[in-house]
Amino acid sequence: MSLLRILARYAIVVLLVAIVLGYAIKGVMEKRAYGEAVGFFQFNPNAGKVVKAAEKLGMDPIEYYVKYIAPRNHPELGKSALRVGLEYMGAVLGDIASFSSGHGRWSYLYGITKPDWSHIYRTLLFLVLADSSVVLLALLMAFKAVRSEPFYDFLQVTARVFNGIPVWFFVVLFFLLIIYSSIPSDLATGIKGSGTSMLAYFIFPVLSVLLVASWGLAEGITVVMREEFQQPYVEAKRAMGLPEGRVKRHVVRASIVPVMHVWLQNFIEIQTLVLVVDYLFRLNGLGTLLASTLIITPDSIFFYPMTFAFVVTVLVLLNFIVSMVVEVLSIRLEPRGSP
């Protein structure tokens, strides 16, 4: 039942994304069709016939072209936004699955930065490094907060303060630290190299995410564990004379499933931080790609929907897989039986 609910949840997400994406793609194509119409009426020998046909219908010839002629070159203009969005998300999935960069078909929808697997690798690497650091620090703080009331109080305050501080605050601080100290300034000018040589470029990005995201997760885990400690079975086990270490092990085991759900929510929130930090530190991952989907110049606004589709499809797929794994693990690890 819970797996079905996750399926329903992500079906809604896909539909929502597809509608907005399809609408954006149709908008970009329509703009292109208006540009093509100008060329058509200047150079095409059939332009006169089209003008006459438009006049018969009482339409502006350009509007007539966009409505009746442009869909021959851009079939998407004749389809619904949802269908266009779903088709293009499917095409992106096909590209990802086949490890190909087959985006020649829609080159003007991709913009300057061509998305490929290297963007996914770098983001996944960053996400894994950041999230494992966040989880480790959060667990350490949560264990301390369960034992110490003043630390729990401190944790609550810091979690609330950092809830209102955007991640770019730490990025700015780290940039200033890098620039005005003896730390190699190379670390602030974008990722270079490959393999292990590029790991150094992740130090400050990971620290930026760590400083924002670990407090909230620590507070969430602490709340779950403190609630578990207040359960009657804990008192019963203590009364039975079980050593405190074994009681704690029971509590930790019972807390695993709710903690996993707290972590899942945090994991999704961390992805926004990862995208922002990736963009600011120029790590050339999905965040950099996302920033390149919308280019605003004093003269024009360019939106590259396929680059956007690539980023959002990867994120939807990633979260869907992680949510399913968490749910399956929850069912298996639930000490009280299936929920």
């Binding site: 954006a24 303060v161 950092f162 770019w168 926004t272 989907t293 004093p298 959002v312």
Partner: protein
């Protein structure tokens, strides 16, 4: 003093500071923030005045004394109409006289007549060459010696008639200096603060309204409708908000002046609230589900109370205190969210995110460190204040 008082004091200080700064702000400058042509006469990359560079920016009418100890001033801006004459008494005894007809705002650098006269003085009197003006402005030449070095000493600058407002532009300008387009960063900072606060407030308000409606309806009515609302709320929490917000705002906005996206503040707040309501609505739903199985609710129902009556009289009593306490945190969170979206240029108008993003795009973080630091410090101050206010009484 307990935490809540400290928080209230911090917030009061912040809002008074913002209100005073906004009330005294030059609105023309704020309206032209994205109009790069407006800032053509201002110094580029000027330091804040409190950093104490010798080359200050001085605003005057009639006349002023000006001391050059390091760098020569970069421009002399004039505001007024009619025939204007400028006389500069230099420390080497030379007197410079410039005349021109002006109408509105102009400067020695941008006014062709004044620029030609300044260059003529530099070439004929100081022996500078025409190609030197690739590296210095006409105004700078008026304060230099024959070796293209600033001529140190006391100058007297007179502008006639006295009704003409003059600004001798040095390399320090206002409380936050200027960016590399010449824009007054103080104007950007105050404008972005006000815009961010207004949008965050409205978004918080809509999140609260939508969240209460969705949370109460899905929590109280365990019907297909309630289930559907719950799944939609969970769906909104299932992917990061950033990409979705970017495309939704892009699709629903129009193109404004200076190539920026344009959308009404209320519409924008509604869209953001719809994307961000999931977490709050789920929390409200939890409270409602906990509350509705309580005995006193069952008693009220047996006594004939309607669903609406139960919700308004009993359920909301549990929901509202949580909402009030949570809304301060939500406000802080919305400020962070808006600044992140601004970073990706998706929020129309200047805001803390777009203000910092500009520092990155202009590579100003390497030189003008006070620029990205100013909204950073403001956001921390505000977040700490809001946290303290929302904390439980000591």
């Amino acid at each position: 003093m307990n935490r809540r008082r400290v928080g209230a004091l911090m917030l009061a200080l912040f809002f008074v500071f913002t209100a005073l700064s906004y009330a005294t702000l030059d609105r023309v400058k704020l309206e032209n923030w994205d109009n790069y042509l407006f800032w053509v006469d201002y110094p580029r990359g000027a330091k804040p005045t409190w950093l104490g560079d010798s080359s200050k920016t001085v605003r005057f009418s009639g006349g002023t004394e000006y001391v050059v100890t390091g760098r020569a001033p970069s421009n002399l801006i004039l505001r007024g109409a009619g025939e204007v004459s400028i006389t500069i008494f230099r420390p080497d005894g030379r007197i410079v006289r410039l005349n021109a007809e002006i109408n509105g705002t102009t400067s020695v650098n941008s006014n062709t007549e004044l620029a030609i006269q300044a260059k003529r003085f530099a070439i004929e009197e100081l022996g500078l060459r025409g190609e030197d003006f690739a590296f210095i402005t006409p105004t700078q030449a008026l304060f230099m010696d024959g070796n293209r070095e600033p001529l140190k000493g006391n100058y007297t600058v007179q502008v006639h008639p006295p009704g003409v407002e003059a600004i001798l532009v040095g390399y320090t300008y206002g409380p936050l200096g200027t960016d590399y387009r010449g824009r007054d960063l103080w104007v950007g900072f105050v404008g972005s603060t006000v815009n961010t606060l207004i949008l965050a407030f409205l978004t918080t308000l809509f999140v609260v309204l939508f969240g209460i409606f969705l949370g109460v309806s899905s929590g109280y009515y365990e019907t297909k409708f309630g289930d559907a609302v719950s799944v939609v709320l969970e769906a909104l929490n299932s992917i990061p908000y950033l990409p979705l917000a970017i495309v939704v705002i892009f699709v629903l906005s129009s193109r404004g002046t200076h190539g920026k996206l344009e959308m009404g503040t209320v519409e924008l707040a509604v869209i953001l609230a719809m994307l961000l309501v999931g977490k709050f609505a789920s929390a409200v739903k939890g409270i409602v589900m906990h509350e509705k199985v309580q005995e006193y609710i069952e008693s009220a129902r047996v006594l004939g109370a309607s669903d609406l009556g139960i919700i308004l009289r009993h359920i909301m009593r549990a929901v509202l205190p949580y909402t009030v306490s949570y809304s301060t945190l939500l406000f802080a969170q919305m400020i962070a969210v808006i600044s992140v979206l601004g970073l990706f240029q998706i929020i129309p108008g200047v805001n803390w995110g777009s203000f910092v993003a500009e520092a990155f795009t202009q590579n100003a973080i390497y030189t003008l460190w006070w620029w990205p630091l100013s909204p950073s410090l403001a956001i921390v101050f505000l977040s700490v204040g809001l946290t303290f206010v929302s904390s439980s009484p000591d």
